[in-house]
Symmetry: C2
Subunit: 479 residues, 2 copies
Amino acid sequence: MLAINKSDTTFLYRQVIDLISENIETGTLGPGDRLPSLRKMSQSAGVSVPTVRQAYIELERQRRIESRPQSGFYVRHAQCNDLVHPAPSSAGEPVCLNCRPLMERVYDGINHPDLVPLGIANPCMARPAAKALHRAMKRVMSRAEERSLGYATTLGEATLRRQIAYHYLDTVGAQVEPEHIAITNGGQEALLLSLQAVASAGDVIAVETPTYHGLLELIDALGMLAVEVETCPEEGVTLCELRRTLELYPVKACMFSTTLSNPLGVTMPECDRRKLVAMLEEFDTVLIEDDVYGDLRFDGIRPIPAQFLSKTARIITCGSFSKTAAPGYRIGWLVTDHFMKQITRLKRAYSCSSGLLQQLTLADFLASGNYTRHLKALRPVLKRNAERMSAMVAEHFPAETRTSKPVGGSVLWLELPGNVDTEELFDASISADISIAPGQIFSPSNRYKNFLRLSFGHPWSERTESAIRWLGNRVTEIH
Amino acid sequence: MLAINKSDTTFLYRQVIDLISENIETGTLGPGDRLPSLRKMSQSAGVSVPTVRQAYIELERQRRIESRPQSGFYVRHAQCNDLVHPAPSSAGEPVCLNCRPLMERVYDGINHPDLVPLGIANPCMARPAAKALHRAMKRVMSRAEERSLGYATTLGEATLRRQIAYHYLDTVGAQVEPEHIAITNGGQEALLLSLQAVASAGDVIAVETPTYHGLLELIDALGMLAVEVETCPEEGVTLCELRRTLELYPVKACMFSTTLSNPLGVTMPECDRRKLVAMLEEFDTVLIEDDVYGDLRFDGIRPIPAQFLSKTARIITCGSFSKTAAPGYRIGWLVTDHFMKQITRLKRAYSCSSGLLQQLTLADFLASGNYTRHLKALRPVLKRNAERMSAMVAEHFPAETRTSKPVGGSVLWLELPGNVDTEELFDASISADISIAPGQIFSPSNRYKNFLRLSFGHPWSERTESAIRWLGNRVTEIH
């Protein structure tokens, strides 16, 4: 058994976590076994009772143990397809991107159209919209023949901004001024403008872990540092960890996905959103809220963005039509009533304005109700795909594999047995004409070596199924 | 008469220029008067003969004086519609943007669709292309119904990159690898990616003076400094001034427009381009070559971008379809064989990729020969507009007004009498439903107070003519 080493700089409660985890993994503590009581553990490990409690709570959140009322803590029964637990945390410090070469290889690899695209998160199921969008675009072209070739205004066409404002009113009952919306070149430019408006090179940005790789690449490209905040697969960013991070580091902005985060697929409960907003104000920091999957919950319920829970907190919410309707249109947006002056200046300097024809087409698509109809048709398809993929993973991957339980979006997050390196799996899968997203690109600090993200957003086919079977067999072989 | 002050830090030859200019402006030296000989001036001013010669050559380039063989230098006869001369130079030092508030006001002002748009440089004459482009887009939509909504690849569609490469082969005989072309969100994003790939906040960037305001806003947004290099209305950047600048300051990149610069409309002769390229290598600096007006010379001759004059010099050339075909498509490109790795990473981080539908449409537009046909139709319209506008300025503006003599593009640059403040004129013109571009936004150091840029790229109409008359009357009143 490992001993607690008080001269080690690692937090003591982390050492307790490692110690228990080690015992579970070696089988010393089996499923259903009772853990030492808080007091007993405190005595045997030579640490305080609150430290042990903190460790047990974290282990419970990781779903390795469970508390039974008036009885104590027990090792949970391992379940295939259980919610994945985050990798044990190193004491997160602000870091530069560590996986740039891998990221480059992944992008190079997945760009080939002949691959089974399990590595790309855009839902091509969005394409049922094709006919309606094409019809709308043709209408726009004949209605405003010459005008439709001209420049859009810097912050975007008033018609589309009004439609987006109305969509928020319709789905979450929030009142947005169209003047507080800026149209961008996809969600990615919305993130870029937001980040540039509030932070500079050298600044520290807090991110979830795991988090969207495009966000890490952006932070890296702007010369900023990322600090990872532990993220629970059931509730999103762990707020006590966030507090610790905000106390330790001068965090300029938090970039969190509050609904259907990528890759975990977690949605932060509204009570936590309210606490998050209060914490932003307490530490005078900014939230850049990535909400590009907000419309894609299978149950059709749209959680309210943190944006609308406070008038005073400084929040920029980023949305996009890339994950729901037309990735190639490159139309996203941001909502804020705090930084519009800087954002206007940056938008003009970086790209003048966004494509006019696509803006007018999407405005028509929303106004006609076709967008809502399209989402209604899309969600059950995504849900069915998620179920099929989860079932196939349970069948073909090793029993120790754990996965997220998607309630929306288009991605499944897998934790494979510890000895599987998904970077190697990536290389092998590319040779087999399958793209996957290896876990390491979702963290700046090389975590998630044995994790994997699979996309179920593409039309389901026999090829999809053989690809999942191939991956399962391959992982089983390595394991 | 001013005296030369040797303890002044201003270059002595600049003081000689100021001294002669002052005498011309006060009338002491009238049109046709002979200037003191080099030796005489050298004695009376107490400076060397080469210093006087340098001053006289500069004054000649400014078209204030002229040399007559075996006779000496004479004050030129003032000519209305003569080529405009640059404002007398301050010893240019790297500076931050000084005109941000004015620029904001100009952008706010000119965005109203009801104004006569003399302040906006995009040629709406480009719109004869509308029918052909719309047809091409409809073809693309029916050919690749679902595919056309998806993401384009990071650097852009192969078909469009091949067509752009072919366009260079066709127009300037240059061989470009499609892999050395990246598709961007308009020319502005091409400038952004280029600048970010080669320089960082705090770096010094050399620009022409006057120069395109969007470039100054970009340099400002990235926290860089601009140093102005004197630019001659007949030959572009003055190479001896550029050398001086490169010797004095650690210039990371030069951002020059080699063909039909905005607002001067000047095209750098090929021999100067070659010297420029040699100088880049000598000083190990980068050229970001703004070539967005390259296709718009009235005579249809396309000067060869500096890009193709050297295999080794580090040059990124930026092009766009915004000034020639469809501003609202937001499709531009850059060409380079030096920084593609950084540019790929930045493009992905900043905006993922550019609009797919527009890329496929433009590829079709180029491949069908429609782009070339469109340019052939567009150039004479622009030329006719330039002639009409120049003639009306000569008729309605004060006699001292000087203007550029456009040989392409869509803008006219005016120097008004010294007491006219075009910032005030801007405010007055907006009230009269006319937009103009005041001179100060074309320099980071508040030069060009009495300068003005007018666009002739929009369809000519009775409203255009009344607007020019109104401006002429207003300037005459102020004067």
